[in-house]
Symmetry: C2
Subunit: 373 residues, 2 copies
């Protein structure tokens, strides 16, 4: 069986940012979740993203990350050329990061189609992912801003939604549809309505578009930003001068929403598995699914482990153990509990309350433990 | 208010042994529970035992411990003369330890009354303890082997029981009664019967007796042991030669049970609080009671802490945290959970299953982690 063939003129952009606060103390400000192997695959989320993109983008992968994380990104991705590692002086949300990368790509390849894929998502059925990107590239070549839409599996309130319109019938993109609108994270009642209607997909922040089209869209609504990122691509030495003035804004608000209103956005439904590993409950579910399939990292029935199996002793226990302190972790009779053991901090929380971890992290500064964030 | 006056001719013997396996990983083979401050008092259980005994025994306190623990015992008790620190080459249960100490005391003071009190029990209302010992000494001077009996508060199956007989009417010991018999740890049904009858007390292993009477009792049922411990008292240099041949037996079986059958044992009912801190559930209850009274170590309502309060962040959580690794421990939404954090091992167990900790410790040897026991 041959692997997927690369997509000519396709460039992958990987924004590697986000704090992953709800995965504290595994994920830290100084070591966010994309730098970690969360699935026991032996590869970090960033490396898995790389592994997923290089078959279709070959050596055309650009990573945008925070200046603090650039050395570790370079270490984890030895195949990434220095010129394709863009280090942001400070976080300015996704639009400046992607626009900068688009300008760098467009300067090298004016006809490039770019696809932006976060470094901290977990994707299964990668062949489905490649097929969806291939369709998205076909739509992008027709001048559209294309997003990959995730089919909702429950009435999630933590994601924005995409309202799908009519099929577009573009050649090479049989499943591509128009996007009617992007909608903000809904409340629970509205999320139920969205789920029931069958018209909505989750917005996972995956966009495919011609670099020149994206820059035109940016120019239309944020002309200063477009000029600045083009200047940056031409004169990288001006980074510290130009960066601080860029508007801090997400790509959704900056261009995707207004472009959708203008009828310029398409969606390709995802036929792959997707998880943003939002919290430890989500991670535990993901690991359970992995171990149910093949050589997963299950420590025992219902108990998942990230770490060395020799570091865990358990009796009648279910949940998730992250053993990252090199110590023995002993569990007796705990149900659906998350235990995250790191050298300087320990977290214990039931899976059902995993989303509250962020609150603990917010409190650390107040108790003089800011260095643990 | 003046403190208690010392009891002339009274010597305290402190067997400092026992693994405290159910308090793992706080208590270890190399650092058993009597060496730890479990109550947040700033003093270890051994030091609290010393503090409790010196007011009535003055400088007449003899500690018997394992050879491995002798240096730490000496460090924790700077007031203990080297001659009164008896280091056992190997564990031989309580009878050889107490008989050896009795022989050492008898050689210095032939009329001594000794009282044996374990180093790892927690006692509250110490004035009641002193009063009970005073009565026990009066009974011992009349030639009896005297035990302090704990009034049962529930149908415990983890303790032996003492069946109380008629009051003895000995001067200076108004509450002293005869002991009909010692009975083994009962099953639950029998324990209920004992509790309901009002005739039974828990055997906490606290004995008061003339040193000469104890040695006579030992001689009666274990003549070789009596000769050996007398030889040891006279010639300490023969320890390694004589010790290995001593019968491994508890004082209860060796002399208390047969002496009771012979009508030579009395009991003084305890009017003090007593806890053997058998497991983390018991420890959590003890700390709750402490914090309910005065300046206890409660971290929050229903959550007890052993360690630095700065090392704990909790939300909606109850139970017990032992923070001994110098790391931050963060709890969210856990009920009646025990979390014991030490530098090389972490334990998480519900209070209701705390007695199962021993099982984990037994498994450590099998998984090549014997050094953690």
């Amino acid at each position: 069986m041959s692997g997927p063939t690369q997509i000519p003129g396709f460039w992958a952009i990987v924004p590697a940012g986000g704090a992953g606060t709800r995965l504290w103390p595994l994920s830290r400000r100084r070591s966010p979740k994309f730098l970690h192997d969360l699935t026991g695959s032996g590869r970090t989320l960033l490396q898995e993203t790389w592994d997923r993109l290089t078959p279709i983008a070959a050596d055309r992968v650009v990573v945008v990350t925070g200046r603090d994380h650039a050395p570790e990104v370079a270490r984890q991705l030895p195949g990434l050329p220095a010129a394709y590692l863009l280090a942001e002086p400070s976080p300015r949300d996704s639009m400046p990061a992607i626009a900068w990368a688009a300008a760098v790509v467009a300067a090298r390849d004016p006809d490039a189609v770019i696809g932006s894929f976060a470094a901290d998502h977990v994707i299964s059925r990668v062949d489905g992912f490649h097929a969806a990107v291939r369709e998205a590239v076909a739509l992008a070549r027709a001048g559209l801003l294309v997003t990959l839409g995730i089919t909702p599996t429950y009435a999630a309130t933590g994601f924005g939604y995409i309202r799908e319109g009519m099929p577009l019938g573009v050649e090479g993109a049989p499943s591509g549809c128009a996007v009617v609108e992007f909608v903000e994270k809904p409340d629970a009642a509205r999320a139920e309505t969205y789920l029931a209607s069958g018209e909505f997909r989750w917005n996972a922040g995956m966009f495919v578009v011609k670099a020149s089209v994206l820059l035109d869209l940016v120019e239309q609504w944020h002309p200063t930003m477009a000029a600045d990122v083009r200047a940056l691509a031409a004169e990288p030495g001006r980074l510290d001068e130009l960066w601080p003035d860029l508007t801090k804004i997400a790509i959704d608000h900056a261009v995707a929403e207004p472009a959708a209103a203008a009828g310029r956005v398409a969606v390709v439904p995802a036929t792959f598995g997707w998880d943003d590993v939002g919290d430890f409950d989500s991670l535990a579910g993901l690991l359970e699914a992995h171990s149910a399939s093949a050589a997963g990292p299950a420590a025992a029935a219902g108990l998942s482990l990230i770490g060395d199996p020799a570091d865990l002793v358990s009796v009648d226990s279910t949940g998730l153990v992250v053993a990252r302190a090199g110590r023995l972790v002993a569990l007796i009779g705990v149900d659906d509990l998350v235990v995250v053991d790191t050298p300087d901090a320990l977290l214990v929380v039931p899976r059902s309350r995993a989303q509250e971890v962020k609150g603990i992290v917010d409190r650390l500064a107040g108790i003089d433990r800011d260095h643990l964030r």
